[in-house]
Amino acid sequence: MEKERQVLVIFPHPDDEAFGVSGTMSRYVDMGVPVTYACLTFGDMGRNLGYPPFATRESLHEIRKKEVQESARLIGLDDLRLLGYRDKTLEFEAPGHLKGIVKDMIDELNPSRIITFYPGYSVHPDHEATAEAVIAAVKEMAPAERPALQLVAFSNDTYKDLGEPDISVDISGYEDRKEKIMAAHESQTGPLLKTLAGNTAESEAARQMWMKNEVFYSYDID
């Protein structure tokens, strides 16, 4: 993993960074790389309201806002941006609107690397809308100016279509920090945290999946 000028992470929901990316973000922060996390919604249409439920549809907004702020603190971010769109609705914003939001951030921050979802392979319509906006914004840039793209893909056909991920970030040494980051998203992560802490085969599989390497795909925009 090389030192970057600036890393820009763009996801739609307050826990999208936690599972697959927070170890990588923490490593960049520790290398002294400026990392900005732009989170487009508050995830306030989520179905998980705690285990047992401690939130409502109406209180989830404030709860998840606090959770992502705590996650950002644990990662060590000093630039967390909460853009405040309504969960589930990103794909219905006016065509080009989100691309413009992304373009403005690129113009301001001049990132050398952007981490987001992989279009077509990220399952949730908000993930897809985010990925498409990033790709569209980067595509408009002159090829020499474009930041590298490091994308998260997890739909069921990912391996069949894209093959093995070509970027793998070793997060050994970051297990405790990552577990705390995931625990910060308490309303969403209860069952997974229990699984991670257990000593069953399922628990070991979960630790292998989340706590060893974070994997991504690069993306050739042309």
């Binding site: 179905r47 309201l49 047992p52 439920p53 409502t56 549809r57 109406e58 589930k88 739909s155 069921n156």
Partner: protein, 119 residues
């Protein structure tokens, strides 16, 4: 939230009768339903900050703690939600009914307030 008390919920429904109210109505199986199981057909909906006036509101059912609520509107239209299990009135005076499925995830919601819900 508390498990639904039928009498209390009926009283709350009555208290909003014949007033202009905002509703949030939602039924959801989750965005990942067909990702985790390709035999699941993924359907869901929400309406938010729709203003209505209902002339009659009732709670029915209750088998296994699962209730139905129906609101008859002043234009003879209807709002109907199945599978509600919990309720509360929060600090913002919003009357919230939620239905949690067997995994503890939100499956349905009906919320009523005289003020607009957060945008």
């Amino acid at each position: 939230m508390e498990k639904i008390n039928r009498d209390k919920v009926q009283q709350l429904l009555d208290s909003y009768q014949n007033k202009k109210v905002f509703v949030h109505v939602e039924v959801t199986g989750g965005m990942y339903a067909s990702h985790f199981d390709d035999k699941v057909f993924n359907a869901g909906m929400f309406l938010r900050n729709v203003q209505v006036t209902f002339v009659q509101g009732g709670i029915r059912g209750g088998e296994n703690g699962e209730y139905r609520v129906g609101l008859k509107l002043d234009n003879d239209g209807w709002i109907y939600v199945l599978g509600l299990t919990h309720y509360e009135v929060n600090d913002d005076n919003e009357f919230i009914m939620h239905g949690f499925n067997y995994d503890g995830k939100l499956a349905s919601a009906l919320e009523i307030s005289t003020q607009e819900f957060l945008k």
